[in-house]
């Protein structure tokens, strides 16, 4: 039972009146993310950015409301059943498996790989600049290379939704820009509907077409990135960005 859908147009993604809570904190998201484009998810610490991604990925189940991907309700589906790939800030790789196998797990969770699969893995490694490093273990890679492996795995998984949870936060500025450009290029080819959590306004400006700004566990403002970063962007966001610049 599959609903055929070319990935090239991306999938529509909607959080329909979803609520969630942990401890005393209550969160409520109601938002639509443009299909096939990159949306930056921004907001102060504790505003619920990671929770929003976890709800889409299925690591958290909403108390009420629905997670709709292409109109289908995935609210209760397990993470592996969802048409979603996610790159975390760290621990994206299994430390005891080499680069090739870490990517291969994206195709077959039991590493039963066909010749075609192996070619797809080689392609993805080439696309992310990792050719020749197939046999390396994660500890033999730099921080940037490790995230490239995670990106390569997202490529072979080829799911229409991509979630990036501050994946480059621990990298230096030059390396971070390289990685952002890689993400932008790959996204332009595959047209994945991408949510990108970041603390850095310049990162969002560099790759995102849209911005969703969270505050106190709910969506405080949305809009095109161009408008957001202009002088008459949303007030809440300007306060946040101003405070960041003032630091």
């Amino acid at each position: 039972m599959t609903a055929d859908m070319p990935a090239r147009q991306g999938a529509s993604l909607r959080l329909d009146k979803t609520t969630f809570s942990y401890g005393q904190t209550r969160l409520a998201f109601d938002a639509e993310f443009p299909a096939g484009e990159i949306t930056a998810v921004m907001g102060p610490s504790g505003s619920g950015k990671s929770t929003l991604l976890n709800l889409v990925a299925g690591f958290e189940i909403p108390l009420s409301g629905h997670v709709l991907i292409n109109g289908l309700d995935f609210s209760a589906a397990s993470p592996s059943e969802r048409p979603v790939s996610m790159v975390f800030q760290e621990n994206n790789l299994f430390a005891h498996l080499d680069v090739f196998r870490n990517v291969g797990l994206g195709i077959s969770p039991s590493l039963a790989l066909t010749a075609a699969d192996r070619m797809a893995i080689a392609d993805a490694l080439a696309r992310t600049g990792l050719t020749g490093k197939e046999k390396r273990l994660p500890r033999e890679l730099s921080g940037g290379e490790r995230q490239r492996v995670a990106l390569a795995r997202a490529l072979v998984r080829d799911r229409p939704v991509l979630l990036l949870d501050e994946p480059f936060a621990s990298l230096g500025p030059a390396l971070r820009e390289d990685m952002l450009d890689l993400v932008a290029a790959v996204q332009a080819e595959r047209k994945m509907t991408t949510l990108f959590v970041t603390h850095q306004p310049e990162d969002a400006r560099r790759v995102a077409a849209h911005v969703v700004f969270l505050e106190n566990g709910t969506v405080a403002a949305t809009g095109r990135a161009h408008d957001f970063f202009s002088a008459n962007g949303p007030a809440a966001f300007r306060r946040y960005a101003g405070a960041m610049n003032g630091e």
Binding site: S80, L105, V156
Partner: protein
């Protein structure tokens, strides 16, 4: 490339399952944990069933068993445990302090390692070592005869039990107290030396508060170990005047065949251990304590000559006391006819039986602990940050440690009584030995497996969920490479415990099923002391090697 893109790019969105079963049931890890719990429950429940059926069938008999003999046994059980605790804990306080005052002297780490050996030694080997030294025909007998002016009667009875218990527990206490002393921050020592504190105020203001905090836990642990001690009392206890509940249960079943009395004794033993554990948990005792000693920090105190001499004397005495029975075991073992023993068919058989039973038991213990660990982790991650722990999660966590409260002899006795109605209890003896030894080793195996699994899961859980790596593929690709070493540690440790055990086998052993400890006991019973010494040396060395291996594997993992 472009062609491939088209092919791979024809992505499809799977339809979500509309009626997915609850997450807890989909996780095979939880199912494995439930299976492990069921196994433990059946084993313990069956034993209780046996006891209940027996006492229901002969209620007046069980009631009549509560006689003055029984209360004498209870009194002795408590009394010897109390004395053993006192004699282990009190000297250990001062030995630990002496060791902590001199963090750098030659041979210190050797002493600490030596003090870890009794933990690895089977109780029957230690008991023989004590006898080889202080027994009627022991190495010290002649000297003690001269001093006493009359024939040295040997060390059977209360004194023998106490010496053996102190041999086991004094080094354990020293290590635990030393650990407590090492938690004192270095800054406090700097401050003390700046203030010019001498030994007495330093003890009062710095060392004693740290020791006092550890004291209830350590004393409670030792008391618990002594109250459930079986082998030592069986071998060194003498007759009705020096019998504990565990040994009395064994005698009621094996010698008098008095099931009613066995039931009464067993109920008392369970009540007693539960009462002690309840008391201990109030005191905050950790009933499966383990000392890990790092390099001692530098100290800044100047220590007077008088104190140095006193400390050296203390450490030396403790060293002699602990090393004595070990040296005696080796010496007596070497004096026995090892070559003849090595050629004996009975020894071959017992060795094979022991190896096979211990292997299976270790395998089972490792599998049980892995199942419980996985289930606990699985339940904890599903629960997330919300909600309290379910009863199931509690059972896979703290609950597993409670099997230690039920003495193996009680489980053995219950099944012995239950199976008596069906057929020969001896027929399923191997199953009983394997199963009971496995669950007794399980809490210790858990300590090796759980931290490694939880740490790996912390890193891998979301990744596995996202990529759909579950079940067998997950075990093979993700968990096994990380867990190989900790599992080997757990296995070696469980195997050593099982090899040296003389609990269930004492009840179920027979001519057709003999393990090494059982054969050892039989040789002692027929006064073939030299044979027993030779076997003890062999058994002790094997267990020691296994523990050393477990320790080595564990250390490499953490480094």
């Amino acid at each position: 490339m472009a062609d491939r893109d088209k092919q791979v790019g024809a992505a499809a969105i799977p339809l979500p399952h509309q009626a997915a079963p609850p997450a807890a049931l989909r996780d095979k890890r939880v199912a494995a944990g439930i299976a492990a719990l069921v196994f433990v429950a059946v084993l313990i429940g069956g034993a209780f069933l046996g006891l209940v059926i027996e006492s229901a069938g002969d209620f007046s008999g069980a009631l009549a068993a509560f006689d003055s003999y029984l209360f004498r046994v209870v009194r002795f059980t408590l009394w010897q445990a109390l004395l053993s605790t006192f004699l282990s804990v009190l000297p250990a306080l001062f030995v630990a302090r002496a060791l902590s005052r001199h963090p750098g002297f030659f041979g210190r780490s050797f002493i600490l390692q030596l003090f870890a050996v009794p933990l690895a030694l089977p109780a029957i080997v230690a008991a023989l070592g004590v006898l080889a030294l202080y027994g009627r025909a022991g190495y010290f007998a002649e000297m003690l005869t001269k001093i006493g002016g009359q024939d040295w009667p040997g060390i059977y009875g209360l004194s023998g039990i106490l010496v053996a218990h102190v041999f086991f527990n004094l080094p354990l206490c020293v290590r635990l107290f030393l650990e407590a002393l090492q938690t004192v921050p270095a800054d406090q020592w700097r401050l003390a030396s700046q203030l010019g504190m001498s030994a007495r105020p330093a003890f009062r203001f710095i060392e004693w508060p740290a020791l006092r905090q550890a004291l209830p836990g350590v004393a409670g642990l030792v008391f618990m170990l002594c109250i459930t001690s079986f082998t030592i009392v069986l071998i060194l206890g003498g007759g009705p005047r020096a019998t504990t509940l565990e040994v009395a249960i064994y005698q009621a079943l094996r010698f008098d065949f008095d099931p009613a009395r066995a039931v009464a004794l067993t109920l008392l033993q369970i009540l007693l251990t539960f009462a002690v554990v309840a008391l201990l948990s109030r005191l905050g005792a950790n009933t499966t304590a383990e000392a890990s000693l790092s390099v001692a920090p530098r100290r800044y105190l100047s220590i007077g000559n008088g104190e140095v001499a006193l400390n050296v004397l203390l450490i030396l005495l403790a060293l002699l006391f602990v090393a004595g029975p070990m040296v005696a075991t080796i010496a007596a073992g070497l004096q026995s006819e090892l070559a003849r023993l090595a050629g004996e068919r009975a020894v071959h058989l017992a060795t094979t039986t022991s190896a096979a039973l211990a292997f299976l038991s270790a395998l089972l213990a490792t599998a049980l602990s892995l199942s419980l660990t996985m289930a606990r982790r699985g339940l904890a991650t599903q629960r997330g940050r919300n909600g309290g722990r379910s009863l199931l999660e509690y059972a896979t966590d703290t609950g597993a440690g409670f099997v230690l409260v039920v003495p193996p002899i009680v489980i053995g006795a219950g099944w012995f009584l239950l199976l008596r109605h069906i057929g020969s209890a001896f027929a399923i003896a191997p199953v009983m030995v394997v199963a009971v030894n496995a669950i007794m080793a399980m809490p210790f195996a858990l300590r090796a497996v759980r931290p490694a699994y939880d740490a790996a899961s912390e890193r891998h859980e979301r990744l596995c969920a996202q990529l759909g790596i579950t079940g067998w593929a997950r075990l093979k690709l993700i968990d096994w490479p990380v867990l190989r070493r900790p599992l080997a540690t757990a296995f070696a440790f469980a195997m050593a415990l099982s090899l040296g055990d003389l609990g269930v086998i004492a009840l179920f052993g027979s001519d057709s099923l003999q393990t090494l400890p059982y054969l050892l006991l039989a040789r002692m019973g027929s006064y073939r002391t030299a044979d027993a010494a030779g076997l003890a040396l062999f058994l002790g060395l094997v267990c020691f090697a296994l523990i050393l291996l477990a320790d080595r594997l564990g250390k490499e993992r953490s480094s």
